[in-house]
Symmetry: C2
Subunit: 400 residues, 2 copies
């Protein structure tokens, strides 16, 4: 059964106002942010409702929300134009309304005390909603709720392991979590990566929650080894850039199927200019010879989608661009095959000082965009491992 | 007042079941798809609720939804595991339940006839939900609703104009739409681009809706001129690749601040290898000389972020990579200034046969990622205009 249901003092209901939400003309960022932030604060969101810009519909949604929970957060409909109806709805229900200050904008919020709970109406502008929720609403809800269970959550970020391979290594941890009713583990995959989310809930004991979480994080990190590239909000590209900068090492990229996406991922990180020199996108096969010196006879005999081609690309780009490390991608993104090789066949290679060049042969699943994203992730991971002197995963492992 | 409110025969309410939605652990794709698809079919979504995996909570949500609308679509909670509770909720309410076939998966849906309406329960797996909604639910809802107003919607996609500049050109169209109560226009901006959405609603007259929409589309396209790069689901990169392939023209990219993102955008399009040769990412300043022949004295005197630098990059990359057209980006992505130039200062240039090279100086707003995305859009647009021989927008226009 759900741990979320039921009208307890830690329950909270959300009402999101706006025709544009029901028409899906805009993406609901406020509901997502509130869901995460409130869970983090130890509160349970027991219902979330989208209502149109209509006074009667908003009043109905708020009345229902008050049946679900003693605290209700309403977002949207506080603006000055004719389609902003929340203020009128609140006025129609009004017992005792006070205003909620807005530190970053002009529209104040409204705090409405009702017999069965408190309604907090906030603007729909995400930046203002967040600032007001943090500054005024959360502290008020938490003080009204009294001592709540404490929830702490952290993540490990993995690359180069399948979900089942990661789960196999975490069997001892899972066994231990089975005896802790307040702890959960979740696997959240994205192309080429997995986030392992550990959550610990303890009754009003922050130190106990944090100590348990730290123990579980250590167990997981040890079991997973070098597949763990970071924690919490780290991104693989940011970790690579951070590692390069810290070690005063530079890199360059040679790309075929990723078409520039590997360089784009690295330069997305502020400060990357201290570590990333540049790259060559040799998309047409003859450019692999012309710009990167892959021998023409090799390209003619073995093709562009080939392990040796990838290694030469990595070696040459590091020499020609005067970088410490070179990293290369070549492969078939799809949807069509190429050189008789299937979509998803990809080679990534890395070369650097004091090491023999390394390459991985991959067979990646997914559509064109997914194959390209996974190729970028594998290339970044190969560079990370080469720079840190970590063992490479076996080529079979990253297949998923 | 909202056109969405009220319990008419074209009203529909949505209930999304799952703890993971309330915790915002997953993104709600089903609600978004249903909102768009149902609006397209002429139905009004009058409320959308997220409920936890709990029988009582699901029953409450469905009962409320039936107060809002005579048709209710429930997604999620139909699976085989212990946290799937929708089947039990439906059983608890049951009057007359029949099963809804699933053409693409194993879990059948449930159609429940209640005194005050019909509930359609579908699996949460998006692919299955969509297939069943299309094949069974929508036809049933529409036949129960009888003759509905017909809604038709189309979009024009613009680049290189601000929202206010586009709106100024559309004043005559807006005046005309003010006299058509069934027609609306919406401006949906994204970095560097605007989507203009035209919607026409007519009472049960498809031909009238389509004729009116066509008239408004033509008026808008004529007023906006070459800023219109495509319609409906077109993307700018796809239009550029299509144009190049159709004219048997090739291109190459020379990138600095975009770091490969321009090449990545072009190669994201299937079939791009027929038009895109490759590129150079000259991120470090010395590589602009080394790989692209920008004179060292020019770089020393004027810097890398400079109009002439951009033009030389575009010219040289087309020569060195043997492409018909070259397109280049250089600028300051931020967050820090560079060469004393502020974040957002960007130059894009294009060079080709039978034309003098062209360049635009831009001052782009937004964070690092937004500046980079906008620079890519402006570079793609410059290439599109150069290839098609269209006039360039004035440098000031794209600032927003």
């Amino acid at each position: 059964m759900s741990g979320l249901a039921g009208r307890g003092r830690d329950a909270l209901a959300v009402v999101l106002v706006g025709d544009e939400l029901l028409l899906a003309d805009v993406v609901d960022v406020n509901g997502v942010w509130l869901g995460r932030r409130l869970a983090e604060a130890g509160l349970r969101v027991v219902s979330t409702t989208q209502a149109p810009d209509d006074v009667a519909a908003i009043v109905t949604a708020i009345r229902r929300a008050l049946m679900d929970a003693p605290s209700v957060i309403v977002t949207g409909g506080l603006g000055p134009t004719s389609d902003d109806r929340t203020t009128a709805a609140i006025a129609a229900m009004s017992d005792t309304a006070t205003s909620i200050p807005n530190p970053v904008g002009s529209a104040a919020g409204i705090r409405l005390q009702q017999a069965d709970g408190v309604v907090y109406a906030l603007p729909g502008v995400p930046r203002e909603m967040r600032a007001m929720a943090e500054a005024s609403v959360l502290p008020d809800v938490l003080s009204r709720a009294g001592d709540l269970p404490v929830t702490r959550r952290r993540s490990l970020r993995l690359v180069g392991l399948t979900e089942s391979a990661a789960a196999a290594r975490l069997v001892p941890l899972e066994d231990r979590l089975a005896h802790d009713r307040g702890a959960t583990i979740a696997y959240v995959p994205s192309p080429g990566e997995i986030e392992i989310r550990l959550t610990v809930r303890r009754d009003a004991d922050q130190a106990a929650a944090e100590a348990a979480l730290q123990t579980y994080m250590s167990m997981a990190a040890e079991a997973l080894g070098p597949a763990v590239y970071g924690v919490d909000h780290d991104s693989l590209a940011a970790v690579v850039i951070r590692t390069l900068v810290r070690n005063r090492i530079t890199c360059a990229t040679a790309e075929s199927l990723t078409g520039g996406a590997l360089g784009a991922a690295l330069t997305d990180i502020p400060g990357s200019s201290a570590a990333y020199r540049g790259g060559v996108v040799a998309y047409a096969t003859d450019l692999k010879h012309r710009l990167l010196g892959v021998p023409a006879y090799h390209l003619a005999r073995r093709g562009a989608v080939d392990k040796t081609t990838a290694i030469v690309m990595a070696e040459e780009v590091r020499m020609r661009l005067a970088a410490d490390f070179g990293v290369a991608t070549t492969g078939v993104a799809g949807p069509d095959e190429q050189e008789g090789k299937p979509p998803g066949m990809v080679f990534v290679a890395a070369a650097g000082p004091d090491m023999a060049p390394v390459a991985n042969a991959l067979l990646l699943t997914g559509d064109r965009g997914t194959v390209r994203r996974r190729a970028v992730v594998h290339a970044l991971d190969l560079l990370r491992r080469a720079v840190l002197g970590l063992p490479m995963e076996s080529p079979a492992a990253p297949r998923r």
